[in-house]
């Protein structure tokens, strides 16, 4: 039984990581109105920037992570301005296909610069704590804390600050928002910075809890998509519930079936939910 609870706890940590990775994706979808398939590659950009600063240049992990996150935020911003802005008028389908292209360009660049192989950060080994027979490491706790902070922070930002309100107005009705004097350009810029920064944070967390290989970013996309679909595209709060559901479902399934089938479990959950709620957990009926 302890094993079962251990898996539930690991699932909650996986879920927290998925929340971090998906929240930026979902945010872009909500504000910019399209699915940015390249989003998971930003996790890779951040993870490998942090790794490069930390291992090759020998920086301490905290400044490396900060630089990694800021760098990723700006990479995201530049891509948003250079690639997506000029073709925005062509509609979400074209943007989606273009983002697939961006995904390959980013992934290929990371591959070319970093090279293949398995790496890990230069940080102390994880310390394990034991509560009622269930183990959790300090790094896992950090992931959970950051996921909570990012969610609460983004929610507060969107609901309490003028900039957040402007972003929400823009996501609801861009033309009306523009005619009411909201600076669409700067709002869009902030959106890209925030969503890419969140991807950067998720990338650092990935580097902390996992060993890094260059295909790691692509391996996340399925789970990110699963969480985003389950949550209902664009809904931020439902991402939390969906992330935890999928995280726990994937990890607890290891109790019964081989671990290679984890993505299969994630998508079985998604397909089951979609059969009853075609717009996801929080989706509204819209045509």
């Amino acid at each position: 039984m302890t094993v079962f609870f251990q898996l539930v706890l690991t699932g909650l940590v996986t879920g927290s990581f998925l929340i971090l990775a998906t929240i930026g994706f979902s945010f872009t979808r909500r504000v910019e109105g399209f699915l940015n398939i390249a989003h998971p590659e930003l996790l890779g950009v951040s993870a490998f920037t942090t790794w490069g600063l930390n291992v090759i240049w020998g920086w301490h992990i905290i400044p490396s992570a900060m630089v990694g996150i800021v760098f990723t935020a700006f990479v995201g911003l530049i891509i948003g301005r250079v690639v997506y802005d000029p073709i925005r008028a062509l509609g979400p389908a074209i943007l989606l296909i273009t983002s697939v292209g961006v995904h390959y360009v980013l992934g290929g660049s990371v591959d070319a610069i970093v090279g293949t192989g398995i790496r890990s950060l230069d940080i102390p080994l994880a310390e394990s704590y034991r509560f009622w027979g269930v183990r959790i490491t300090n790094y896992q706790m950090i992931v959970v804390v950051f996921a909570a902070l990012a969610t609460v922070g983004l929610a507060l930002f969107l609901n309490k600050t003028p900039m957040g309100l402007a972003i929400r107005a823009m996501s609801a009705n861009p033309e009306l928002a523009a005619s009411r004097g909201i600076d669409v350009k700067s709002t869009s810029r902030i959106t890209w910075l925030i969503s890419s920064g969140l991807a950067g944070l998720a990338g650092v967390m990935l580097a902390v809890i996992a060993t890094l290989s260059t295909d790691i970013a692509f391996n996340q996309i399925l789970q990110i998509l699963a969480v985003a679909i389950l949550a209902g595209l664009g809904s931020l709060y439902a991402v939390v519930a969906a992330g935890l559901i999928i995280g726990v479902a994937m990890d607890v399934s290891v109790f019964w079936i081989p671990a290679g089938y984890r993505p299969l479990v994630a998508f079985s959950v998604v397909i089951l939910v979609l059969m009853f709620r075609p717009e996801g957990l929080a989706g509204k009926k819209s045509r």
């Binding site: 979400p92 989606l96 595209l233 979609l274």
Partner: protein, 250 residues
């Protein structure tokens, strides 16, 4: 490699992948359904062909089934397998629209990929099935490469012809009606869900055949050949070359 060989190779693979694009064009431009899981239909066709024509497992082989049938049985089986896969994945997902459909079909493709990779009993896991049986074009007096290039081009032309005829028929007009105004189509008694599923299945069959042909040409099926890249490199052109773009609901 001479220029001649390059041209033949381009023609062969170009024709095979244009079958995929044709099918996706039918699904997306006319049916209004965006499918990001094309590679799974392709893989289903290729694996079905390989499994039906492969000899029964022996020695270190881990696959369970090899029926040792002639190539034409395998070829038909490929179309049927792709059709069945479309039925199984289409039935639960076609109530979804736009991005939800795109992502769920993508999910199905990745699940299928992971199944092929992990379940060694289907197709030997990551090793795949090698030495896939193939018809020999030299019996018709053609060299191997020319024979297969011709087969691929014929498949492409037949697909294009059949789809074209289909879209000009009353069925094609029904598709357009459902696509343009679902409520109106329902009001005149068209079952839109059924038509959508029909489009989905019809466009899957040629992808299965293309998969079988691909398996014959490469004489190998392995999960590494059927990654998401196939969908995005050959599927996305159809999304960009949409005939009736302004009408596409997304």
């Amino acid at each position: 490699m001479t220029i001649y060989a390059i041209i033949i190779a381009t023609l062969t693979f170009g024709a095979i992948f244009s079958v995929l694009t044709l099918s996706l064009n039918l699904q997306y431009a006319r049916g209004g359904m965006i499918n990001f899981g094309t590679v799974a239909y392709f893989a289903a066709g290729a694996y079905a062909y390989a499994i039906f024509t492969q000899e029964p497992p022996s020695g270190l082989d881990q696959y369970r089934f090899g029926f040792d049938m002639p190539w034409y049985v395998g070829f038909l089986a490929a179309g049927v397998a792709s059709l069945l896969f479309a039925l199984v994945t289409g039935w639960p997902t076609l109530r979804l629209r736009g991005e939800y459909l795109a992502l769920t079909t993508f999910a199905f493709a990745e699940v299928f990929h992971s199944l092929l990779l992990n379940e060694r009993r289907i197709g030997n896991g990551s090793v795949g099935l090698a030495n896939v049986e193939r018809p020999d074009p030299t019996t018709l007096g053609m060299s191997d490469t020319v024979g297969y290039a011709l087969a691929a081009v014929v498949l492409m032309l037949v697909t294009a012809f059949v789809f074209n005829r289909l879209l000009k028929s009353p069925f094609g007009r029904t598709i357009d009606a459902v696509h343009d105004d679902e409520i109106a189509a329902q009001a005149v008694g068209k079952d839109d869900a059924r038509i959508r599923l029909q489009v989905f299945i019809i466009s899957a069959i040629p992808i299965g055949f293309a998969g079988a042909l691909y398996a014959m040409i490469t004489t190998l099926v392995a999960p590494a050949m059927f990654t998401a890249e196939v969908t995005f490199l050959f599927g996305s052109p159809s999304c960009l070359l949409v005939k009736r773009q302004s009408l596409v609901r997304f």
